[in-house]
């Protein structure tokens, strides 16, 4: 690799000044065609590539947007669960990459594994013009400081952290509305009344919002429900979903009429557990998920769920960042709520084919 050639090398080789070399790249039309060709030829000969760092330094902008996301890679998670969990991030990455590209930005991604040693934000924040952070990968406090200096948008998080309402831009999905509508459907359209919500042990504002939506629908329909999820799974995986289903079946001697799972992974796990117990879905027990992962369409019975627009979330994040970057700085924090769709499929009793996809929220 030796030491890479610089503008100086190219300038010398083509007999011009470094300013002209720079102009050839920044603003080709401002250089006489003949000169330009000489410069480009020299650059080609030398294998010259402009240093993004120097460029960024001089023009105080990087042309890069960032994304911090959690890495769920757990040694004790089986590969399949891991795959599905990552699908979530993958979609956001793809959405962001496409939108970023449209606007001429590249995308820098960095995952934090839980309790990583040094702050990855600092690393990312310093090299990008703005970035998105998936909820709970970075302490809110740290973000607030940074967000004073460059655009930050939080994905899928809550605005309030305890009693403190943060000042970040947010993009979230209609967790509450989606889960409420799905629950309403189970109660009113399928006549189910003994519903059990499978939540998660770890603090998750998304899951909490879903549970509240579940509760709201129950209350609205006069269905009696405890103020707590029936089960809090240790992790939101298929294995834990299966365990939760087993626990619920054993608990009262008979299973509930519906298992309302906080995500698709657990719902699929529940499906398997119920099958092992020779219970039929949806006749004996209805099962629903949340997320809309592809797997949900492939399992039998097909999984009724609430689809999240993850790709769009990534795109919206970029749009928001770009707007912030080009615009009026003093604007108030924005909070975007993306609509979800309830996909009624077989596992709630709606038949093998997808019946209806109702857009909800926002």
């Amino acid at each position: 690799m030796s030491t890479a050639p610089t503008v100086y090398d190219v300038a010398e080789r083509s007999g011009v000044s470094i300013a002209t070399v720079s102009r050839v790249y920044r603003n080709p039309d401002s250089v006489r065609a003949q000169t330009r060709e000489r410069v480009l030829a020299a650059a080609r000969d030398l294998g010259y590539v402009p240093s993004g760092n120097a460029r960024g330094l001089a023009s105080r902008s990087t042309g890069v947007l960032g994304l911090c996301f959690p890495d769920y890679a757990d040694p004790d998670t089986d590969a399949e669960d891991d795959d599905a969990a990552m699908l979530y991030s993958d979609q956001i990455i793809r959405g962001m990459e496409r939108a970023a590209r449209r606007h001429g930005y590249a995308l820098l991604i960095a995952a934090s594994l839980k309790g990583g040693p040094e702050s990855l934000v600092a690393k990312v924040a310093g090299r990008v013009d703005g970035f998105a952070v998936m909820a709970r990968t970075v302490p809110t406090e740290e973000l607030e400081g940074i967000s004073r200096r460059r655009p930050v948008v939080m994905l899928a998080g809550p605005r309030e952290d305890g009693d403190h309402l943060d000042h970040l831009d947010h993009i979230e999905v209609a967790n509450f509305d989606g889960q409420r509508e799905l629950t309403r459907h189970l109660i009113e359209d399928h006549g189910l009344r003994r519903l059990a919500f499978v939540g998660s042990a770890e603090e998750s504002p998304d899951v909490e919002a879903r549970f509240q939506g579940f509760l709201a629908a129950c209350r609205a329909a006069g269905v009696d429900t405890p103020e707590e999820p029936a089960v809090r799974a240790a992790m939101m995986t298929q294995a834990e979903g299966a365990r939760a289903a087993d626990a619920l079946c054993d608990r009262d001697g008979r299973p509930p009429q519906a298992l309302v799972c906080a995500n698709d992974q657990m719902a699929v796990g529940a499906l398997h557990a119920l099958e092992r117990r020779r219970l039929t879905v949806p006749d004996d027990v209805a099962v629903t998920g949340f997320d809309g992962i592809p797997l949900g369409r492939l399992v039998r019975p097909t999984l009724t769920t609430v689809r999240q627009p993850m790709l769009r979330m990534g795109e919206e994040a970029v749009e928001l960042l770009v707007r912030r970057l080009s615009g009026t700085p003093g604007t108030d924090p924005v909070s975007l709520m993306l609509p979800v769709t309830v996909a009624r499929r077989a596992s709630c009793g709606c038949g093998p084919e997808e019946q209806t996809a109702v857009a909800i929220g926002a």
Copy 2:
């Protein structure tokens, strides 16, 4: 956002020199604890984040690795096919991100849509210490120039481009060996002799290698086969796979005994087409794929295929780059061949459960 604070601001506010501020971040132990705290406090107050650009410029390294990949997003592709195609890139991205993180790097990703206007490589190359390129996203010529100055590794590509053997590092998978072994299995273990290979219309060295492996197995077994794929699908999608299967069934009045598809997508499409024709797989026609996408385990019959280690490919790419970055510069180009596994499932006649997974290739 106003203008971001710099070392100078932090230095002034904490009453030290900029060198000390710098040291607090680069080498905390070299600063007295008390001073360090003062500096950090000032930084916190100001919302200071070190500029990655300046840092990179001064230390001539960015701490970032890059990946250029193709974006298959076609308006005329349905979302499902698109999903699966991207899985390929997603896996590589994940593999690279993890390995990069282990080594303290972040990952910069940029997709090229076919015939994008300006060179995305230049954009990426200038901001990273080294990068990987998925085959056919960037002209080889351009890469060779750049690779003189920083490490570049080509993923899944061929070493030769026409008659010109390039000088880049390569990582590929055992396309030839994998397809040969799978074909051998069909011929010898299942006794099939009329095999049709479904390839692709566009130039793809991977598909070509697979076809050659297919041919080699046929020849070795004395099976008579044309020197060309039976079909060249316009795109490697489910829809095209279905179309290919239909074409082959109609062509000679009777279907071949086996459809050997160049990827899983097309194989799944073929499965659907055959089902519509009331042909049973594998009894009437065997079908095989290549890639090992998750969908292959979910379709019925489950798909016999050759699994590619995409995640590992991403990891190996990073390892290779890191080695180049830290090591002896003058080394010859490396070419890594990753082994694949033949997953024998139901669609070739091996029964519903996965029978054996045979590792093939170096």
